[in-house]
């Protein structure tokens, strides 16, 4: 394979410094072993030898390494950052793999076979043919309560998760409700408590029983964890304060969707604001469909 990629050209110039998808084959093997182990023990954080990547920590070095180990030349790749395909992080990671792997890329969720995401799950339901790769800043859900890694590992292995509820208790006592709105802790198959990466809690229900493979990569913290397809994922809560997946109580100002997660966008200095879908592909698809419907209605009316 390497010969093929040695010949891969970039803007007319020959480059022979990179293996397919940047990482060398040994590294990819090591990452794949970690991924397989993670899939075998859903929610368990598997340590792996995270490499230096040509981007700063916090920009998705974990997700990029998982994507690199997952991609094949036939894949179609999509990258989203907070739901959008056109933000800096998404654009640079997409270009990175265009250049180092030469894979096809797309903005359309349904067309992609591998989707790397930062902080969102696409609105369009995923399928069994897809892999969703999350970028994770801090994989340990207990970290802010228990600073010792030795201790948190022990807590995971002994299933001592009382502390996680202490955090939710603190939320209610201070704010009157569970104020954690992103990175909301979940329990996987009744065993491991997992940080779903900083996705809004609105997305939490989509984690459960998802047909796609979900992989989580934390580069700085050197951990990979995973949810195999159709895994049961439950958001933690109290009996008298149940989990509520919340979103802005509004419709999208562009596509009028009431189902999708919304961003609030400030439009001027006079207090002007609008709510738009955070998933740009979902919003665009809906608007395109609405336009076609309008046009065809016009056509029908014109003909009659």
């Amino acid at each position: 394979m390497s010969e093929r990629w040695n010949k891969m050209s970039d803007q007319g110039q020959e480059i022979d410094a990179y293996n397919f998808a940047y990482l060398d084959e040994q590294t990819k093997r090591m990452i794949r072993r970690a991924i397989l182990k993670a899939l075998a023990v859903p929610g368990y954080q598997v340590p792996f030898a995270s490499r230096e990547m040509p981007m700063p920590y916090g920009w998705g070095t974990g997700g990029v390494q998982v994507s690199a180990a997952t991609l094949t030349p036939e894949d179609t790749f999509k990258v989203i950052d907070q739901g959008a395909d056109d933000t800096t992080n998404a654009v640079s990671i997409r270009r990175f793999f265009e250049r180092t792997a030469g894979v096809a890329t797309t903005d359309e969720t349904a067309q992609a076979s591998v989707i790397q995401t930062r902080h969102r799950i696409p609105e369009t339901p995923l399928t069994e043919d897809q892999i969703l790769v999350y970028q994770v800043p801090i994989p340990e859900p207990l970290r802010f309560l228990e600073p010792s890694e030795v201790e948190t590992r022990k807590m995971h292995s002994l299933e001592e998760y009382g502390l996680m509820h202490v955090k939710l208790y603190e939320d209610i006592s201070r704010h009157g409700e569970i104020a954690t709105s992103y990175a909301y802790p979940v329990k996987v198959e009744g065993r491991y408590v997992m940080d779903p990466s900083p996705i809004p809690k609105f997305d939490n229900p989509k984690l459960s029983d998802c047909p796609a493979i979900q992989l989580f990569g934390a580069g700085r913290e050197q951990r990979i964890y995973a949810l195999p397809p159709y895994t049961r994922v439950v958001s933690l809560d109290f009996e008298d304060h149940p989990f509520i997946p919340s979103k802005a109580d509004h419709a999208c100002d562009l596509c009028a969707s009431r189902e999708s997660y919304l961003d609030e966008v400030i439009t001027d200095d006079a207090g002007g604001r609008m709510f738009v879908c955070s998933d740009t592909d979902y919003c665009r698809t809906r608007r395109a469909a609405a336009t076609i419907e309008l046009n065809s209605r016009d056509m029908t009316e014109a003909c009659s």
Binding site: V166, Y169, S173
Partner: protein
């Protein structure tokens, strides 16, 4: 009556040095045992061995579990031992900040053990936390404050509430009044004495303060260089010390 705790020949070495050696005793339900001795006499090592925080090099520690009767805690699996640690046992540290979560509110600190054993009803946890704060004389309106904002004595009382909320049967205390001024000490001792009597707790109290054991302990063990040199009823040991070290210890107490 079955002893709650039977300790047999517990020894712990730090390399060639003795931490504690050949310590044996029995503790019955409702009994309070004091362990006194100077710094470095092995009191804390012994307490650590009994509470499962240190692994002794030799000996047995049999605890009368609710379900299966006396079992050697040293041979239990770690999950079992840690389960005991948050249900039937309690450990009050000398420094409250070792035993508290300083970044978590007082209510959360008290509620942690409840949540750890599976309580999942916020209202219920809150009610119990308030009840316990009341019992250790912390006002209701401090329930959402963090322990950082508490005085040393309040922190120590909060630690006690946090430990006793699950109704343990055996409490380990390591210098519970250390570092507190005498009036605060007196109130804390009063409180502890009340709780021990009211809940029928058994307790092992390690201290170098003879006044504390005089007030709290039914029985007393005196340690020197890792070994028990004298034991017996508290008043008997303190009023009629037999071993020369105990005599020294008793006569060293400052009279005001």
């Amino acid at each position: 009556m079955t002893p709650l705790l039977q300790v047999r020949d517990v020894s712990r070495y730090y390399g060639p040095r003795i931490g504690c050696a050949d310590v044996s005793f029995e503790l019955y339900p409702g009994e309070v045992m004091g362990i006194v001795g100077e710094s470095g006499s092995g009191k804390s090592t012994l307490l650590g061995c009994l509470a499962g925080q240190l692994a002794p090099d030799a000996g047995e520690v049999l605890f009368d579990t609710r379900a299966e009767g006396p079992r050697d805690t040293l041979k239990m699996s770690e999950p079992e031992r840690r389960m005991l640690g948050r249900t039937d046992w309690a450990f009050v540290h000398q420094h409250a900040r070792d035993g508290l979560r300083m970044g978590v509110s007082a209510g959360g600190n008290v509620g942690e053990r409840l949540m750890a054993v599976g309580e999942r009803h916020y209202g219920e946890i809150r009610t119990q936390a308030l009840d316990w704060l009341g019992r250790v004389e912390i006002p209701d309106d401090r329930v959402d404050d963090r322990p950082r904002a508490f005085s040393g004595g309040m922190q120590q009382r909060l630690q006690i509430a946090r430990n006793l909320v699950t109704g343990p049967r055996l409490v380990f205390m390591d210098e519970p009044t250390g570092g507190l001024d005498v009036s605060v000490q007196a109130r804390l001792l009063d409180l502890l004495r009340g709780l021990v009597r009211e809940m029928g707790l058994s307790a092992i109290i390690v201290t170098h303060d003879l006044a504390v054991v005089r007030l709290l302990a039914d029985r007393l063990m005196v340690m020197k260089d890792g070994r028990v040199v004298e034991g017996g009823l508290t008043d008997q040991v303190l009023d009629d010390p037999q071993h020369e070290y105990t005599q020294l210890l008793v006569s060293s107490v400052l009279q005001v």
